[in-house]
Subunit: 217 residues, 2 copies
């Protein structure tokens, strides 16, 4: 890898632990993990489909649509209040335990978030996790009205930081996001927290870590 | 619905029964349905991701990559010969039992396939299923090097048939494909063979049938 002049982080699953979203599903089903996985998969699918159709809606709307699909698919019958509670879990996320120290260690170089999340969702998560002081920019796809892995999204990082993509390290826990960023031109690290298999998209990460405090400094 | 001056069909799962692909998985695993579902899901994901990244590879290559991911994910250890056999099942598909009669009934108006499949894959499936005589065009996304639900793909139908999208009926067993076609401007029918839940993408099919012989004539 070359020199690193700044860091661009994915948000959900990378910095922010979405486990509390699973917890919020417990009052609805005895299998909140399946609800969460179905919801998450559909959430991603809807971002890809809407981006390809050129029919952008923001991530809050997409996330709610995916939730409605997931409960119908799993034959659950939540009240509107229960749905609301699940959605609101996204607004009060914690970060993973090592994140604050990991970001501190990278001090001196600009650090940013680049996420599918809507500005309001990201603002709330940054506030609730206390990561604000460590981040120069919180960048949302909403600025370009499409979704990852569109190159239009990845271009927001270098533009905001004033550093070419090749001098930035893009970090995500999503293997496909890492592929998209690398295809765009970033150096990339895959934070493979879950021990997931690599994608077969013909592009490999420059580094693979299992926690953010293992990132190249 | 308005008058229908031609029909555009999705291929896999709509005209062609991919059950034989599942059968081919039996020598590899005691749970070929899970292999098939994992493979299919990843196959679609890779079409969406590659289309969004602007990194088109044809459907044969995407299908093979998705298969390699699926066997790794499921901890299977196939030989290259076994992988080859699974892939080749795509070249000798049967059509669903009612398809031939359904296409015959629509005679007098042009009927076409519009599919993610590569030209070679579609040619082989049309030949093995005996549907050639009923089809005026077999259209592949390969002509525009991207994938459904990109509007560039759906535009191939009206262009080839010389009929505006609004006067054509697009038919697919994939709910998201129906949404993409409707967003483009077709009249659409969802052939919901499996009783799947509707997508939450803000667009509904004009007609829902469970077999192709129930299509509006």
């Amino acid at each position: 890898m070359g020199p690193i002049r700044g860091y661009v982080f994915d948000a959900y699953g990378t910095l922010f632990d979405v486990h509390s979203v699973i917890e919020a599903g417990r009052e609805l089903t005895s299998d909140p993990a399946t609800l969460s996985a179905t919801w998450r998969q559909k959430q991603l699918e809807y971002t890809w489909l809407r981006a390809l159709m050129g029919r952008y809606e923001d991530f809050w709307a997409v996330t709610e649509s995916a939730l409605r699909y997931a409960v119908r698919r799993l034959d659950l019958s939540p009240t509107e209040t229960q749905l609301r509670r699940l959605m609101e879990a996204y607004l009060s996320l914690a970060c993973f335990p090592e994140v604050r120290a990991a970001l501190e260690r990278l001090e001196g170089r600009p650090r940013a978030i680049l996420s599918n999340g809507s500005p309001r969702m990201l603002e709330a998560a940054v506030a609730s996790s206390g990561l604000g002081p460590y981040l120069r920019h919180v960048l949302s796809v909403d600025a370009v009205k499409t979704y990852k892995p569109s190159p239009l999204v990845y271009a927001l990082g270098p533009r905001a930081l004033g550093v070419p993509a090749g001098d930035l390290l893009f970090v995500s826990s999503n293997a496909w996001d890492v592929v998209g960023a690398k295809a765009f031109g970033y150096q990339v690290a895959w934070c493979n927290r879950a021990g997931a298999p690599e994608e077969e998209l013909g592009i490999r990460a420059d580094a693979v870590v299992s926690r953010l405090d293992q990132l190249p400094g």
